[in-house]
C-alpha cells in the first residue's frame, strides 16, 4: 500500500518536473490578438445572433451588402458595389461584387443573398427553421421585405411592402449579413458550430465557455487583416480581466468597471477606450395606471428625480445624463427636447395641480445585476426613491432578477420601473420601437404614432429630421418616462495595440487592428 503511494508520488513529481522542461509550441511572432470579454458568444449565425457577445464575432466572420463608414452609420459598398432605388421607393437593386469567395471556397453571388434572407423570411424556403430561435433580421425587416429576387448572378432585387427609410442602413447591420448556402447545406443545423461567411476572419475553433478563435482570411476581398488570429476569451470577472491585461496574457479587454478606469489611465502600458453608447437607462412610468395617467404627475416625477446625482454616483464619469429617449449620438437628436430641470418645488406644485398634494404610495421596480446601460440598478432605485420621498411620495422598492422583472413590466403589472434599451443607433429604433411600441409605458398617442410611421416612409433627410425632432418634442411633453443616463461602452488595450475599435453599439472591430 505504502509502496504504491510512494510510486505514484514519484511519478507525479517526475511528470511535473518534465512538463516544466518541455516548451510549448510558441506561436511564431505572436501575431495574435486576444480579447477578454465577460461572456461567451452563444449563437454566431448572423440570422440568429442576438447578444453583444455574438455580434462581436459575427462582424468579423461575415459581410453585408453595405458597411458602415463611420459611427454616424453612413454606408459604403461592401459585398454590393452599387445600388439604386426605384421611384416609388419600394424596390432596391444591388449590383454584387464579383470574385468574392466564402471561407469554404464557394462563390459569393446572388443565390447566396437570396438564400440568406429567405431562410429567415420565407416559410417555404428549404432552409427555413433549420436553425431554431428568434431572428433579428425577422424583427427588423420581416414585416418590410416582400421578396428577394435574383436578377442574374451578380444582381439582386429587394421588393419592399412599403417605403422604409432605414432599409439601406439596416443592410449594413449584422443580422443582414450573408452566409454560405453550401455550408448550410453541408452542416444543416450544425451550421452554428461551423459558421461560414466572406468576412476578414475565418472560424477556427470554439471551446465553449473558454475561448473562440478566428484566423485571418488570406483571400479577403477588402483590406486584409494584419493579425494572424483573433481570439475571444471568456473572463467573467472584471478584476480578473484587468489583471489578465496588466499581465499581458491578453491584448484587450471589454466591459470595464468604471472604478477601473483610474488604474488603467495610471498605467503607461495600457490605454482605455470609451465611446458614448447608443443606449438609454430610464424609469418607465405605467401610464395606464392611476395616477400616472395624468401628464402632470409624470412631469412632476421628471422634475423630482435628480438625474445628475445618479450619473455622478452610479456612472462615475463613464456615462452622460439623458435628455430624452434618444442617445445624443443618434441622427436627429434634439437637445431642446428635454430635460426637465431638477426642481422638487416645481414637482410639488405639479402634484398639487393634479390633486395629489398629500402624495401617494408608489412601488418602484428594479432588478439585480448589471446591464449594458446601468451597472448598479438597485443603488439607482434607492437614489430615485430618496428623491421621490422629498416630494411626499411613499416609495416601496421591489427588486427582482431580470427575467422576472421583465415579466412584470411586459404584463403591465408595474407602476414605476427601471429599465433601459440599446439598439442600432437609428432614430426610429428609439423613438418608434422603444417609445411608442415596445415601451413598458403603455404610451401610444395616435398623433405621435402617425408621425413615427410617416418618418419611416420619408427618404428625404431634412424632412426626416423635422419629423423625428417633433417626435422627441412630443415624447418630452408627454413624459412617459424619466430619462436618466446613457452609459459609455468601454474597453482597454495594451499600448502596443493599434487600430482596435469599439463602436457605439459596444461591438469590437478588430479587422484593422495590429500589434507593434
Amino acid at each position: 500500500m505504502f509502496k504504491c503511494k510512494r510510486f505514484f508520488m514519484v511519478m507525479l513529481s517526475t511528470l511535473l518536473i518534465l512538463s516544466g522542461c518541455v516548451k510549448g509550441k510558441e506561436l511564431e511572432g505572436g501575431n495574435d490578438l486576444t480579447i477578454a470579454r465577460s461572456t461567451d458568444a452563444e449563437m454566431i449565425d448572423p440570422g440568429h445572433a442576438m447578444a453583444e457577445g455574438d455580434i462581436d464575432v459575427v462582424f468579423h466572420l461575415f459581410d453585408g451588402l453595405v458597411q458602415f463608414k463611420n459611427r454616424d452609420l453612413e454606408v459604403e459598398p461592401a459585398l454590393a458595389t452599387d445600388w439604386d432605388v426605384s421611384e416609388d421607393g419600394k424596390t432596391w437593386t444591388f449590383q454584387l461584387r464579383k470574385g468574392v469567395k466564402f471561407h469554404d471556397g464557394t462563390d459569393f453571388n446572388a443565390d447566396a443573398v437570396v438564400h440568406s434572407f429567405k431562410r429567415i423570411l420565407d416559410k417555404d424556403h428549404k432552409f427555413y427553421g433549420l436553425i431554431k430561435g428568434n431572428s433579428y433580421l425577422d424583427y427588423l425587416l420581416g414585416d418590410i421585405i416582400e421578396d428577394v429576387v435574383k436578377m442574374n448572378d451578380y444582381e439582386v432585387k429587394f421588393e419592399l411592402k412599403r417605403k422604409f427609410a432605414p432599409f439601406l442602413t439596416y443592410m449594413g447591420y449584422y443580422s443582414q449579413f450573408v452566409v454560405s448556402p453550401a455550408a448550410l447545406e453541408k452542416y444543416g443545423e450544425d451550421f452554428i458550430n461551423h459558421p461560414v461567411g466572406t468576412g476578414p476572419f475565418k472560424f477556427k475553433r470554439w471551446k465553449k465557455g473558454e475561448y473562440l478563435e478566428l484566423t485571418a482570411n488570406e483571400d479577403y476581398w477588402g483590406e486584409k487583416p494584419k493579425i494572424d488570429s483573433l481570439v475571444f476569451k471568456v473572463v467573467p470577472e472584471s478584476s480578473t480581466r484587468l489583471m489578465e491585461l496588466q499581465n499581458g496574457s491578453v491584448d484587450a479587454i471589454k466591459n470595464i468597471d468604471p472604478k477601473q478606469l483610474e488604474t488603467i489611465e495610471k498605467n503607461d502600458e495600457l490605454k482605455a477606450l470609451s465611446v458614448p453608447g447608443a443606449n438609454t437607462f430610464f424609469m418607465s412610468i405605467n401610464t395606464e395606471k392611476e395616477p400616472f395617467d395624468d401628464v402632470k404627475v409624470r412631469q412632476a416625477l421628471n422634475h423630482a428625480v435628480n438625474t445628475k446625482r445618479i450619473v455622478e454616483n452610479i456612472y462615475e464619469g463613464d456615462g452622460t445624463r439623458a435628455i430624452n429617449f434618444m442617445p445624443p449620438t443618434v441622427f436627429s437628436f434634439d437637445k431642446n427636447a428635454g430635460p426637465y430641470r431638477y426642481d422638487p418645488d416645481q414637482a410639488k406644485a405639479l402634484l398639487q395641480e393634479a390633486g395629489y398634494e398629500d402624495g401617494f404610495k408608489v412601488k418602484l421596480n428594479t432588478f439585480e445585476g448589471a446591464r449594458t446601460y446601468v451597472s448598479q440598478p438597485v443603488q439607482a432605485a434607492e437614489l430615485i426613491a430618496s428623491d421621490l420621498k422629498k416630494i411626499g411620495l411613499d416609495v416601496e422598492i421591489e427588486t427582482n432578477e431580470w427575467a422576472k422583472h421583465a415579466d412584470i413590466m411586459d404584463n403591465g403589472k408595474h407602476e414605476l420601473s427601471l429599465t433601459g434599451w440599446f439598439d442600432v443607433p437609428y432614430p426610429s429604433n428609439f423613438l418608434k420601437t422603444l417609445a411608442l411600441e415596445g415601451s413598458r409605458t403603455k404610451y401610444h398617442p395616435e398623433d405621435l404614432q402617425e408621425k413615427a410611421k410617416k418618418a419611416l416612409a420619408t427618404y428625404d433627410e431634412e424632412k426626416q429630421l423635422k419629423l423625428y425632432q417633433e417626435l422627441q418634442q412630443g415624447l418630452h411633453e408627454g413624459a412617459p418616462i424619466v430619462p436618466i443616463a446613457h452609459s459609455n461602452y468601454s474597453a482597454a488595450v495594451r499600448s502596443d495595440v493599434k487600430g482596435f475599435v469599439l463602436d457605439n453599439l459596444g461591438v469590437v472591430r478588430a479587422h484593422k487592428a495590429s500589434k507593434k
Binding site: 518534465l18 461572456t39 430561435g133 428568434n134 465553449k208 473572463v235 480578473t240 499581465n247
Partner: protein, 335 residues
C-alpha cells in the same frame, strides 16, 4: 443482506428520487415568472411572433405533456436543445462537467491531504499553540470569502509574481486535444507533457481557493472526532500493550475517527459537483456553475433541467459511495 444487494436496492431507490426532483425542478422553473419567448423577442416581437416562438420551443403544450416529452428523452440522457445556443444540452453540459469535476476533485484532494494531518496534529497537541493555530486556520478558511481570496491569490501569484496564469483552464498554445474532457488525463493520454504542466498550473490557484471551506471543515471534524476516539478505553489498551504512538494514532485511532470526516466530505463533493459559481467566475473556470447562472437568466429551461438532473444523480451516487465506505471503515456497520 450483502453489500451488493444493498447497492442494488439503493440504485432502485434513486429512481423515485430522480423523478421527484425532476418534477420539482420542472414545476419550479415553469412557475416562476419569465417567458423565454417573450424575453427573447422583446420589444419587437408581435404577439403572433411570440406565439410562434412558443410553439417552436414546445412551450404551448400542456405542462404534463411537456414534462413527459422531456422525461422520455432524459432517460437516454437527451435533454433537448438549449434555447439560447441551439446546441444539444448534453454537449453543453459535458465539457463543463469535466471542468467542474476536475476542479472539485483537486480541491477535495487538497482538503484531505492537508486537512486530515492538521486535524490529527491539533487533536494530539490539544490546547497547545499548534492546536490554536489549526483552529484559527480553519476558522479563517470558513470565514474568508472565496471571491476575495481568489482575487488575492491571482494578484499575488499571477499578476505580481507571475508564477502562475491569471485565469482559464489551459493556454491556447498548449497543443491540447480533448479526449475525455479532463485536461490532466487528456494531456497524459496524448502524451503532451507541456499541456499537462500547463493544465496543472492553471488548476493550482482555483483549487486552493475552492479547497478552503472543505479543508477547514475537515480539520475541525478530524480534530473533534480524533479527540473523542483518543479518550476511548481501547486507546488506553493499545497504549498499555506497548504499541508505538504513531501507529496508535494513524492505524487505530484515525480509522475510527474518519467516519464523520467521510460524511462531511460526501456532502462537500455533492455540493462542489454542482459547480462553484464564485470560484468559477473569479478564475474564468468554464464549469457548471457559470452555465447554470447564465441559463437561469435566459430562462433556458432545457439547460437548467439537464444540469439539475445531473447534479441530483451525482449527489445520489456520492451518497451511496459514502454509505459503502462506512462499512469499509467500520466493519461493525453492515447493511
Amino acid at each position: 443482506m450483502n453489500i451488493l444487494n444493498y447497492i442494488l436496492i439503493r440504485f432502485l431507490w434513486a429512481i423515485p428520487t430522480l423523478l421527484g426532483v425532476s418534477i420539482l425542478v420542472f414545476l419550479m422553473i415553469h412557475l416562476i415568472p419569465g417567458d423565454p419567448a417573450q424575453l427573447m423577442l422583446y420589444p419587437r416581437g408581435t404577439p403572433e411572433q411570440v406565439e410562434a416562438l412558443r410553439e417552436q420551443l414546445g412551450l404551448n403544450d400542456p405542462m404534463a405533456v411537456q414534462y413527459f416529452n422531456w422525461l422520455k428523452d432524459a432517460l437516454f440522457f437527451d435533454f433537448g436543445k438549449s434555447v439560447s445556443t441551439g446546441s444539444s444540452v448534453i454537449s453543453e453540459i459535458s465539457s463543463r462537467f469535466a471542468a467542474t469535476v476536475e476542479l472539485a476533485l483537486s480541491a477535495l484532494s487538497i482538503a484531505v491531504v492537508v486537512g486530515i494531518p492538521l486535524g490529527v496534529i491539533a487533536a494530539r497537541k490539544k490546547n497547545s499553540l499548534i492546536d490554536y493555530l489549526c483552529i484559527t486556520f480553519s476558522l479563517g478558511g470558513v470565514s474568508i470569502p472565496v471571491f476575495w481570496l481568489g482575487l488575492m491569490l491571482i494578484f499575488v501569484f499571477a499578476a505580481t509574481l507571475g508564477w502562475l496564469p491569471v485565469s482559464g483552464r489551459i493556454s491556447m498554445d498548449s497543443g491540447m486535444q480533448i479526449v475525455t474532457g479532463f485536461y490532466l488525463l487528456d494531456a497524459l493520454l496524448i502524451g503532451n507533457l507541456y499541456a499537462f504542466g500547463d493544465a496543472v498550473k492553471h488548476l493550482i490557484l482555483p483549487a486552493v481557493a475552492l479547497s478552503t471551506i472543505p479543508l477547514a471543515m475537515v480539520v475541525r471534524i478530524t480534530r473533534s472526532s480524533m479527540l473523542e476516539v483518543l479518550s476511548q478505553d481501547y486507546m488506553k489498551t493499545a497504549r498499555a500493550k506497548g504499541i508505538p504512538g504513531r501507529l496508535i494514532i494513524y492505524k487505530h485511532a484515525l480509522r475510527n475517527a474518519l467516519i464523520p470526516v467521510v460524511t462531511v466530505l460526501g456532502i462537500q463533493i455533492g455540493s462542489l459537483m454542482g459547480g462553484s459559481i464564485l470560484t468559477e467566475t473569479v478564475f474564468s473556470w468554464p464549469g457548471l456553475g457559470s452555465l447554470i447562472i447564465d441559463s437561469i437568466n435566459d430562462r433556458d429551461y432545457p439547460v437548467i433541467q439537464g444540469v439539475v438532473f445531473l447534479a441530483t444523480l451525482i449527489m445520489i451516487v456520492v451518497n451511496l459511495i459514502v454509505d459503502v465506505l462506512y462499512a469499509y471503515l467500520d466493519p461493525r456497520i453492515r447493511y
